[in-house]
Symmetry: D2
Subunit: 132 residues, 4 copies
């Protein structure tokens, strides 16, 4: 697949590939908007596509992010949080620079002491006024 970029505002091209357990690769790119906060990053486009196609926690083996700068760019904090919902903390995130050199960190290293689903009250707790 020849992936298309839609980043006319930042002039920053980012590509993301998600490797699933069955060998499938799902791709994303940044999709920007004239109202900057409304745009989205490559990582969230790729992950949204993967989740809608059925990927669940445990199905995602690795995420790779590529940009045309060096040293390589890392996912922004918003993407680290988005990924956190669907990936194990020990999942590797590979970051590639403009010469295809890579750095690797786990999700847990990039988002230490993360906020996640287990922090929220369940519907049942809300209903019955239980405190966590």
């Amino acid at each position: 697949m020849l992936m298309k970029f839609a980043g006319p505002y930042s002039h920053f091209r980012v590509g993301c590939s998600i490797l699933l357990a069955d060998g499938t690769v799902v791709q994303g790119a940044n999709v920007e908007n004239a109202a900057y906060p409304v745009g989205t990053c490559a990582e969230r486009v790729a992950m949204g596509t993967a989740v809608v196609q059925g990927a669940k926690k445990g199905d995602i083996r690795a995420i790779a992010v590529a940009t045309d700068i060096s040293p390589p760019a890392s996912p922004c904090g918003m993407c680290r949080q988005f990924i956190r919902e669907f990936c194990e903390l020990n999942m590797p995130i590979l970051m590639y620079d403009n010469e295809a050199r890579s750095t690797v960190m786990t999700l847990g290293q990039l988002l230490p002491m993360s906020f996640g689903p287990e922090k929220l009250k369940t519907t049942d707790e809300v209903e019955h006024g239980l405190s966590q």
Copy 2:
């Protein structure tokens, strides 16, 4: 394709289908996050997938949004803005309720007097201090 939903927080299932000029349909669903503002809506997942696959302004013929409530839900303002970047103002947005009854509005009707790319200064204007 059996589409997967990831909306455990709102308990609100939203599906979106984008019809392209070549007859292809691209699908999306809401993908939520424990940090609520980090999640994304069905319309943006579908549109992000379509844009990365190459859809450009003029390629998108219609967008359909389905929820299990009645009357049907409309796209949130953030999604209207996201769609605005890639679609003509006269593109129809169909909204389906839990009985598959639909309401239709154009993008221009749902986002009147919209903010778009033509409002931003070009790089050249920024460089040379031209006013718009």
Copy 3:
């Protein structure tokens, strides 16, 4: 108050003033981020400040948005949705251009057939499986 702008990426200066029923004016400006989607708009900064200070639905009389272009810019769709949560549909939104000429629209005109709180299931409905 001399308001500060933090919009180094879009080079687009936006100011927002919210008029409360008691005559108070709360101000905001766009606060951008190197990761573009993480930044926020003037309208949401102003409204966030107002809500934290205690403004509730019914307390907000008008919202004014000023930019240095002409014709004036309108709030992006994300901001229309954010405002929708706390304002009546007949509240006026004034948009000022670089010569202080203004256009006015109501919130309901800028976000027709809007998505709002009444569309979501209550905790009680989720708990007991009631459909809306």
Copy 4:
């Protein structure tokens, strides 16, 4: 000031206080939206208010976040990124639980190898086709 919360969807109350170099404290709380991704967190409300009032990099001495759970919640990834734009990496972030016990981490510890402004091309580089 008696701070108001607007978190009817997550039922999760978060308060944030930003300590400035001149001793001023700026406060925020989560401001949620029926369209979940459109809402915002306590940290971003407080920081947006502070920036509009004139706080710049170097002016912010500490950020405290309080929730009514234990162990204390940390800022979401999106807020870590938002804060990153305006704070030094060695700035302390204090996280308080429901008994006012706190944990402290620096911004750099919470967002290692962060994405920031220095990664983006300047307007001049874009204009003249320079690579980074």
